[in-house]
Amino acid sequence: MKDFVWLIPTLPLAGFLILSLFKSFIPKGLSGYLATLAVVSSFIVVLNWFIPALRGELTPFTWVAWDWINLGKYHLNFAFQIDVLSIWFMAIITGIGSLIHLYSIAYMHDDDGITRYFSYLNLFIFSMLILVMGSNFVVLFAGWEGVGLCSYLLIGFWFKNNAYNDAAKKAFIMNRIGDLGFLLGMLLLFMHVGSLDYTTVLEQAPQVFHKNAGLITVITLLLFVGATGKSAQVPLYTWLPDAMAGPTPVSALIHAATMVTAGIYMITRTNILFDLAPITLDIVYYIGTATAILAALIGLTQNDIKKVLAYSTVSQLGFMFMALGMGAYSIAVFHVTTHAFFKALLFLGSGSVIHAMGGEQDIRYMGGLRHKLPITFITFLIGTLAIAGIPPLAGFFSKDAILAVAFEHSPIYWGIGVFAALLTTFYMFRMFFLTFFGSFRGSDKQKEHLHESPLLMTLPLAVLALLSFGGGFINIPHVFGGHQWFSHYLNQKSLVPLLGESSISVTTEYILMAIALILVMATILFTYISYVKKHNIPSADNSESTTLGYKLSYNKFYIDEIYHSIIVKPLHIASDTVFSFIEKYILDGIVKSIGLGVQKAGSGIRHIQSGSTNTYALFMILGVALVILIQIVL
């Protein structure tokens, strides 16, 4: 049985290879089905281990594909590690990935590059599977860079638009900066542990590093730098909102099933290292908090439906890093899971809206869509309620678990978390009401065109809506009589540590929950009043953007502009200076002047060789005089 594990990544890889090599032979209508088939088959193979894992019967194993880099004393295998953590991610990747593929068949049906699109999509699933399946850091890194490449290809999919290419380039380079951090962390680990296999590294780390807290702090910080790139945390988050340049299902894939979850996976996988470095964990928490708040503040004023969702992802990822920073790894993965459900749902839902609107993404020109797009409306509502944390939807349980852990650390942490959650609720419902309520504000042509999406698109929406509704039940906390099934699931073989018994009483927990819930409900009511009752539609020319706060939020705190002027521009100036000054003027200048010098010397000395006997005689006398002089002096 174990030997079939190679099929899981190979099926999407085969899909990619077939679609890209035989692009011209495959009918356009067929490519989507082929790609979907590849991912669905992969999902079925995953189930083979996922179902036993759910029952707690999975025996973890490593499957060596081949000896990758062999250097005498050290072998680096291209090997896969199947355990409860990797199989969980594999199920999300292939499961949600399948739904996104299915949806894409309808969404992309009239695009000329559909075959190219699906080949990239398959490659994306492949890379992400390699990332989570690898049994050592280098295989993870291969997948890590692979998803970077795929996001580059897909964000810039509509290559004729230069702004999209900018976004693609930005995504890759920001990720690469993070990757370097990861690479350095990995090299330092190898230098001190002498291996990069998870098993060896995690086993030996406590011994190797227990006397060297500084070193492990540096290593984990470097690994975390990698995570900030992939998982869009401050300061490397600005690529993710721009990444919506790609087709909408790609955003769903990047934001929900793949890519951004990589950082959380990596930290959870290496939680033993992070537990050895409490300073790093604190920094992870602070960065997570900063990201959650900053992104949410920006989300408040955005008018592009996908941009709002993108900032909400950044903010939700911040929540996950808050959990990681507090050592609540299983809670972070729990939130990854519920977030995967509702964010895939919301992005695909927004795709359905954009599809109906004929490509329009600005919520100022939408409104009242609930009548024309009933399925999209209902499913989008479920997604919005889930992300806002309304019980008993999925987001409630995962967000509440994070808030509970936060309160244990400090009520201030809890307060910050609730504040971020309220911001989320506000911008999500603002977008929701502006899109689906009120009257239609688009053109007449758009109004005629409005239609519910086909079954291929609504079916994935329905499935994801179900998951967003019930996905939280996998980790019902003790206060509701649950047993935190999911945290125990991940704790098999002590893979991911279980949190200690909660120190806060059940009553306190109820009160906290109630406060959070009341505040969330009040926020929803507030948005309802301002956007539905009072028709506070943001104007097309942003005339309300007069207050400083609004301006800052609407312009994303000018972070992009700041990066451009402190990083991009100086880089180009530096490279131009190095080229035109050091390279051309100094280095090549020296070479040229040596050449010219030899030439000049040659033409100078040439005059001595004049052929005139008188001159020669003169030089002879001078020479003799010189020799005599030297002899006298010495």
Binding site: I69, G72, S575
Partner: protein
Amino acid sequence: MESFGLTILLWLPLLSLLVLLVGKYHQPGTLRTITIVTTAIQLIIAVLLFIQMVPEYFPLHTSDSFVYKDFHPWFTLPLGQLGYLSVNYFVAVDGLTISLLLLSSIVLFVGALVSHTIQFQEKGYYALYLLLCISIPGCFVAQDLFLFFLFFEFMLLPMYFLIGIWGGVNKEYAAIKFFIYTLVGSLLILVSFIILYASTYSPTEMVRLSGHSDITVQSIQQAVMDKTITTSDMVRSLSIQDVTKPTNIVPGSWLDPASTTQWLGISARMWVFIALLIGFIIKLPAIPFHTWLPDAHVEAPTAVSVVLAGILLKIGGYGLIRIVWPIFPVEAMQASTVIAIIGVVSIVYAAYVALAQDDLKKMIAYSSVSHMGFVLLGIASGTVEGISGAVYQLFSHGLISALLFILVGILYERTHDRSIAHYKGLLNKMPAFTVVVTIAFFASLGLPGMSGFIAEILVLIGAFQASQVYSTIPIGVTIVATIGLVVTAGYYLWTLQRMFFGKFSVHTSVDAHTLQDLTLMEKVVTYLLCGLVILFGVLPSVLLDTIGPWMQTWVQFLQQSIQ
């Protein structure tokens, strides 16, 4: 008998050269066909030699460490006070040679395939090209430095003419710059070899030439120690086996480690080490001896650029690994921090300069300098990982740079314009071309799954190890090297965006009708190279298993020498 293949590989082009020079060929393409067939046979033999090679652990540069040996006494030259110079025709293969022999066969074959752009004086061109097909593999298999130097010079001369005659607008300037630079390098190498000759003797050669059964290596060594043999009676050889053996140094000579001779406070050994180092670094090239490369590349015709970047630069790295480090292990270790810094500066500096280029070919030329910096860093580390990475980088960069220069050539041939700013949205017109360019760019920026990644990660691991094992390379230096990786991603992606993506448009000076997608022939060549780049990225063991043992013996040799 097993050396038969090697002999054919090496001298077959000479036969082709005769055929080419004697006959009269009016049919267009005949000369190219002869060259392609010749290089194809060379490639097949090289692959067979590679497959048959059994990796074994023998001490570095001992007679067991070589396979496919072909040894013939050549001549012995009496040199008065300096004794006798014994020169042998000694060609053989070992773990280091085989990788570069395979690479040179691939690159020369590919170079012959893309030589169709040569439109005039074809006979001269192919004659010189066939000469390269002898001298380049010759450099790698020659195990006698006299022979090595002959091949080395016979490689530079054809190169000078190939650039100077078939080059672009500024060909004379580029060719003369290339020539003078390499001449300076050759001169430094030659002088070092002469000093080496004067400072070593060869007991094995003396035994062989004496013919007496009672004269043994031990007795000769004893006699030299006792000074009963004078320097004018010594037989000296420049065989690599002989000159890398520390016991073969004549006591009291310049290169005697015990010698206290110093100039400007630097020992004679260190001076010779520096001279050899610069000689080979010019070829590599590394900062600040690299300024010949961009000019030479820009003016050279495509096939010559391919050979230049694909193999010629590798001889610099090869010389450092084969000759400089084994002869001067102590000096090399002493200087390794400085050498690593030169490597890192090359990586970062050349990447920055590449970012500022508007000429596509120049950008790729600078990227070559940047990538060769990794070779220097790997060698300087003196670790198994580092040296394996350096050799892997030589191999991998040979393939990737060949691919990149072919791609530039494909575009230039169509439009005679290499300015990045003159193109936009080429993907619309040339989709297959764009796909291959994208693959080549990502390979060059070190994406996992392609050969460059394996090389670079090995070098970085090695450099990190060096800080621990020898405390030679400070970690900070290696960390700076990784900045180069980001800048590299920057210039490649920026180029992709500017030239290939967006809406199609070209500068008025470019004729848009000439922009046809890849021809079948171009597809074959570029897909082949892409395939190899991916093969050696996914299955590096294909190469590493064969060359790995040699790398370990190299490090062992180094470590024993510095103890």
